[in-house]
């Protein structure tokens, strides 16, 4: 008989060991999944995890790693603060869209004026867009006790409809020959979020993501707010006795994650994406949830998890080209990873004892 015995404190070894083990198990299970699809599992896993980094065309793919990891890390850092405090913002995708729309609108309104002030203005507008979109579930929760999971998720669909209205309407490129989508911001020097060092993928969004990692680390380890966030998540009653105002915490957690998701959105459309189209968003807001958990809600962990998840995106595209592996397989693969991680979490919090009662 197996018996679970709760550990007095979570195991440090396993809290870092489980993500690694989860990745290995996902590779094995993913390999079986690919084998069922009639693909060589070893080749597929190699295409996903090895080729983008060390393969023949790696020099082309390596910059993509930062391009994809940037928004994932930025969003996941914000989400992790909330998840620690049991504030579940799962509508980051909507906040990402609203950030891109607000920031992009500033750029398109200013077109074709050139000014060094434009880019900062866009970034601020993007952050505000995401912030406001996240404050809707926050205020409803504070004022009425509405469930923030459902409201933030519903707002994703609302944001997608707003995006489609604007992309086909006011933001549409007047010189676009009827093609959908806005002007390409990559061709608008003042608004373009270009690579800081050419062909590295390192744009301002990636820099911001790194800053967010450092900021979150300091916040969680050295600041009273970080302490309050952790206490509120682990022991809500104790937190209230300690004078933590749960409402303020809801607003702060949702506000920060919304603003960061909005930033990710504007950096994306002003940089690698270039255009606001009705489908420019590719689900970073949802994948970031996996990144946050895979990184154990820890800033450094999220940094590594974001890079790993970016790798699976690029590797997935490579495997699609070389092995005609469907892109959806990667989505299933990422979901599987989260499952294994949550299942293995048991090892962090419990000891497994074999044998009967003591």
């Amino acid at each position: 008989m197996f018996r679970l015995e709760k550990r007095p404190t979570p195991s440090t070894f396993w809290s870092w060991g489980t993500p690694v083990l989860a990745v290995i198990l996902t590779m094995i299970a993913g390999g079986m999944l690919f084998a069922m699809l009639g693909k060589d599992p070893v080749l597929a896993i190699k295409a996903i995890f090895w080729e983008p980094l060390f393969g023949a065309n790696a020099s082309y793919f390596r910059p993509q790693l930062l391009v994809k990891a940037g928004p994932l890390i930025l969003i996941a850092i914000g989400l992790s603060l909330g998840f620690r405090a049991a504030v579940w913002n799962i509508g980051a995708e909507g906040q990402y869209i609203m950030g891109a729309l607000c920031g992009g609108s500033v750029a398109l309104a200013a077109y074709p004026a050139e000014s060094f002030l434009l880019f900062p203005a866009m970034i601020i507008a993007g952050a505000i867009g995401g912030f406001i979109w996240a404050m809707i579930p926050a205020l409803l929760k504070i004022r009425f006790g509405t469930n923030e999971i459902l409201v933030s998720l519903m707002l994703v669909y609302v944001a997608e409809n707003i995006l489609s209205t604007l992309a086909f309407g006011p933001l549409k490129n007047p010189e676009g020959f009827g093609f959908p989508g806005s002007r390409n911001l990559q061709q608008y020097p003042s608004a373009h979020n270009a690579d800081l060092i050419a062909n590295t993928g390192l744009h301002w969004g990636v820099v911001t993501a790194f800053l967010a990692v450092i900021g979150a680390y300091i916040l969680l380890n050295r600041h009273i707010l970080g302490f309050q966030i952790s206490v509120a998540g682990q022991a809500p009653r104790a937190a209230r006795f300690a004078g933590v105002n749960p409402n303020t915490l809801v607003a702060i957690c949702l506000g920060i994650s919304g603003a960061l998701a909005g930033l990710a959105g504007i950096f994306e459309v002003a940089g690698p994406g270039g255009q606001i189209t009705d489908s420019f968003n590719v689900g970073y807001g949802f994948t970031a949830i996996i990144v946050a958990f895979l990184g154990r809600l820890h800033p450094v962990g999220i940094l590594l998890a974001g890079l790993l998840m970016a790798l699976t995106y690029i590797g997935g595209e490579m495997a699609q080209l070389s092995l005609s592996l469907p892109l959806a397989a990667i989505q299933a693969f990422q979901g599987m990873l989260l499952f294994f991680l949550l299942a293995l979490d048991l090892l962090t919090n419990f000891r497994i004892r074999i044998g009967g009662l003591i």
Binding site: T146, N147, A332
Partner: protein, 310 residues
């Protein structure tokens, strides 16, 4: 009866069809939540039901087999969730999200090659002269069997929870798993059964989308229906009769906005298509205010991890 270019009888009839997927999923989720488990993976279970039902129906040319396969698919997904949350004691919110993300990916993978295919039609039940009764006929006696099944399931769930001993045990487990455990009830088994029932119903709801309502397979076709089902459970204060009311109200809104789109009213299509989501938010606000009312109606052990130390 025609108001503003919209036939009211047809509107009610199509409202029932539009509400059926959500009604099924919400009924199942309500039972799961009544047993004290919050499964946020409804969307994932629905979409797996949608594709497995679609694939099975296309392969066998039988919608009935399709619906059965969908129920099994949804239940298997729920079992996965149950193993993680009940035996491996994982966080229910996170696991539910994982189930949804995994389900969306897996369904897209399973759906390769099913795009653009028409499923075998689900026939309406022939009720002879009954369906010719003006007004009542099209509303009550002119549907396919799944619509009646969904109504039967809601009624059955209501009676099960209210009048049977097993229903009482299920509610006891959901209110206080420690007390139920002390009385000798198998908390984990009750919860697994409730979760799988919820999964099967979510699967049926998903298959109703892909086999009847749309009817074809497209990636991500549930488009938030599972989340709306979750919202309806809150709206219904965990009561079966109110789940029915909520789902039909919601179906009415969906159909009305589609009719308005078709009638070419001067409201942009996007504004109309975001209406169901906005209305869900508004309903959630109304149900939650004054602050915390929804929490009071919820099963007391909802979302809490059960770990019997002895």
């Amino acid at each position: 009866m025609v108001i503003g270019g919209i036939d009211i009888v047809l509107l009610i009839a199509s409202m029932m069809v539009a509400a059926t997927p959500i009604l099924l999923a919400a009924t199942g989720e309500m039972v799961a939540e009544k047993s004290g488990v919050l499964n946020l993976g409804v969307e994932g279970m629905m979409i797996i039901g949608a594709i497995s039902g679609f694939a099975a129906a296309v392969a066998t040319e039988s919608p009935f087999v399709g619906f059965m396969a969908a129920a099994v698919g949804g239940a298997v997904m729920a079992l996965l969730f149950a193993l993680l949350t009940q035996y491996l004691l994982s966080n229910q919110v996170a696991t539910g999200l994982a189930l949804t993300l995994f389900g969306l990916g897996l369904s897209a993978l399973m759906g390769q090659g099913y795009q653009g295919i028409k499923p075998p039609p689900t026939a309406k039940i022939d009720m002879g002269p009954l369906s010719d009764i003006p007004g009542l006929g099209p509303i009550l006696f002119n549907h396919d069997w799944v619509v009646y099944l969904s109504l039967l399931l809601v009624g059955g769930t209501w009676a099960f929870l209210k009048y049977t001993r097993a229903g009482l045990i299920l509610r006891a487990v959901g209110e206080s798993h420690d007390a139920a455990h002390a009385l000798g009830y198998r908390v984990i088994r009750v919860r697994i059964a409730a979760l799988m029932f919820g999964g099967a119903l979510a699967g049926l709801g998903g298959a109703y989308l892909s086999l009847v309502r749309v009817p074809q397979w497209t990636e991500g076709m549930t488009a938030g229906a599972g989340w709306i089902a979750l919202a309806i459970v809150v709206f219904a204060s965990w009561k079966a009769e109110r789940v029915l009311l909520g789902a039909y109200l919601f179906g009415g809104v969906t159909v009305l906005q589609l009719r308005l789109q078709a009638a070419g009213i001067a409201i942009p299509v996007q504004v109309l298509s975001m209406a169901p989501y906005l209305i869900t938010i508004i309903v959630l606000v109304i149900m939650s205010a004054p602050r915390g009312r929804a929490t009071l109606a919820a099963p007391a052990a909802l979302g809490r991890v059960f770990h019997a130390s002895h």
